[in-house]
Symmetry: C3
Subunit: 287 residues, 3 copies
């Protein structure tokens, strides 16, 4: 059988060591690591992947799109899928900034404690790249969503994007810049997930203490101060009253397991595109 | 035995995925892929190849020069061979833009159907990097050649270059800008090979139809419109009347086989320089 | 067991082929080769190394700092060790420009012929990156040292640096710009090691001939004219009267053995920092 080759297209100047190590641990035999990738560079590299092995062997070549900028990664992913044609294709996965595997790990963590299809889930700072993917995954499970954001316009735009891919998505947009808005975003929710930027506190303890029946609180920020006051980075199933808490490292084990499994899955067929929905489904199958 | 290491010196900013996959499939165990290579960078890299293993083990390290610019690759190849000295050397092959393996595949395809030593072969747009290599290979087989070009001066210069390496080469230069010239370049030839740039039609059907006894027509352009009207990219031994036709993909299987075999051959000795003649000989041995 | 991954952080634009081949021959299974590394790029890359495997498996990931500029490499090494914390660390070695392995090979060569703890060793041009490491290693063995330099101020500064790490170091600084100074640096010494820049003659035959009882003379310059007149690059244990001579290639075999062993040692624990002292100790253990 041909050796497993993973072509890493990274939008950062130096290709990610993180993604490289995970790929090796997922059984990749040869890593072709490329940094500084822009959509313009993609066609030649993809041609090199799809024109070098017989169609039946193409499942042993795959592409991983990474880098710290998720939006740049999305453009590279589009360039990859646009270059493939007919049977001339290799499988590809997007996980820029760990966005898909982190979002999947967070939603899966929540789903361990509540039935998401019957729950209301608040996603604070949900307009970011991880937040959007969380909404996309929650929509697949039929959850009612509240998208907390500083800008109603931006929130509605993101909600529309999610609905384009998942028309059944039930998303309510809430401006959370004042305490009243923040409280209305949480009131009656079973789950709150914070996916804001480093060092921005989104949910203070003084507000959270008034919602003791919140079932799950997850903070994906790895750099203190976290977005949800009172959660620690390493929290994993930590009970605070009736609320089960997770920090970024607390969902990290699940994230790593999903990341490795997704890379392994790339080599099972030559026509997979692993983005939010596919990676979430894969993650759930590992539970 | 020391692991097989192939140092890929690519003149493009991103090193070729194509060459990397072929190298892996040729049994290379470790690829050192370098992009953006200029002759100035070569010495240190070659020193790293020739000073790290005992002379008896140096055949397990080799160098591949690639990239889309053949003329840049030729300069890098020269820098590599100039850096090696005495027993301190590793084998090296040039295949920038697939030039040597593609040329060899084309000439070998023609040689399946005619005795090249007794044939007249027209090479349209023969002054390019692939064309020059085709002429060099045809000279080895003793073919009579017609070099079609837009510029007599440029054609004569290329013919002189080929004769410097192969003094026996019989090359007639023909300016093919007008139909009379084009017709005179084809009249009486058994084989025509077109190696022009993408999208430039060199031999229209209206002219070709008047030479029904042409035995072989090969077009190496992979992007329509091809250089020889009436040939399709995927044509492989397609009979059009008495003429057997090949397109770029039609000679692709042979090209890949030669490419892999050439990389394998690099690791059989530490003093090989695989350029046009050597790669053509290798290709013929695989038939 | 997880595959052995070596992350090569090279401060030159193209990562070293030399260091790559040695790593492969030391049993590294996957090389992640990075060129153009500055301290600013280090944190993300190190995070990728320390956050991807369980603590018990982290000894299978390691970092090699290389490149032609030793001082740039030292800054990268500092950035690596500053990023690691608690149990989240991987082993790292510095060998920019081969400085540590070359210095160790030179001092070990000298130690084969004299008892360094009872010897006076002159290090000509000892303020350079290799010279400093030689002084550091000699201090570990309790040798009396003479640091020859063009600048007393620079020499004293380097001597102070060495004493900060090895307070017991006995270093006498000598300005060697005139013949009297040069003679006083050698008079009574058992060993002289020259680690100056390429093409600068430091010790002429006319001076050396007056010190026939010198036991060992080692010149680490690989480009003629060497620093010690009368020594050839390939000299290895060559006797010139009572003096045993080594050139750069003459200590090269020992250097390669130490280099390979140091890379192998990286994978025995996850908390090693292999710099001058550690690499010298390792080298002595191989004798």
């Amino acid at each position: 059988m041909p050796a497993k080759i993973l072509v890493c297209l990274d939008t950062d100047p130096q290709p990610s060591v993180f993604d490289g190590v995970v790929a090796v641990d997922a059984g990749v035999e040869h890593l072709f690591r490329h940094g500084g990738i822009t959509p313009a560079a993609v066609q030649d590299l993809v041609y090199g992947a799809i024109f070098t092995r017989a169609p039946a062997d193409l499942k042993n070549t795959a592409i991983f799109v990474g880098g710290s900028d998720v939006s740049a990664g999305e453009k590279v992913l589009a360039a990859v899928t646009n270059t493939c044609f007919g049977p001339m294709r290799v499988s590809v996965m997007l996980d820029s900034n760990g966005s898909n595997t982190t979002a999947a790990a967070a939603v899966i963590a929540a789903g361990r404690h509540v039935d998401l299809s019957k729950s209301t889930v608040t996603v604070l700072a949900g307009t970011g790249s991880v937040g959007k993917r969380i909404l996309r995954m929650l929509a697949d499970d039929g959850a009612r969503m509240r998208l907390g954001s500083r800008s109603l316009e931006h929130a509605q735009q993101v909600a529309d994007e999610v609905r384009q891919q998942a028309p059944q998505a039930q998303i309510e947009c809430v401006v959370t810049t004042d305490e009243a808005g923040l409280r209305s975003s949480i009131d009656g929710a079973q789950v709150v997930i914070s996916s804001g930027p480093p060092g921005v506190a989104l949910l203070p303890q003084s507000v959270r203490q008034d919602y003791p029946n919140l079932s799950v609180a997850i903070d994906l920020n790895a750099v203190p101060p976290l977005g949800i006051e009172g959660i620690e980075v390493a929290d994993k199933r930590v009970e605070q009253g009736a609320t089960i808490c997770y920090g970024a490292i607390g969902v990290g084990g699940t994230k790593m397991k999903i990341h490795r499994a997704a890379v392994e899955k790339l080599f099972t067929a030559n026509d997979l595109v692993l983005d939010a929905t596919e990676i979430y489904e894969l993650g759930k199958s590992l539970e």
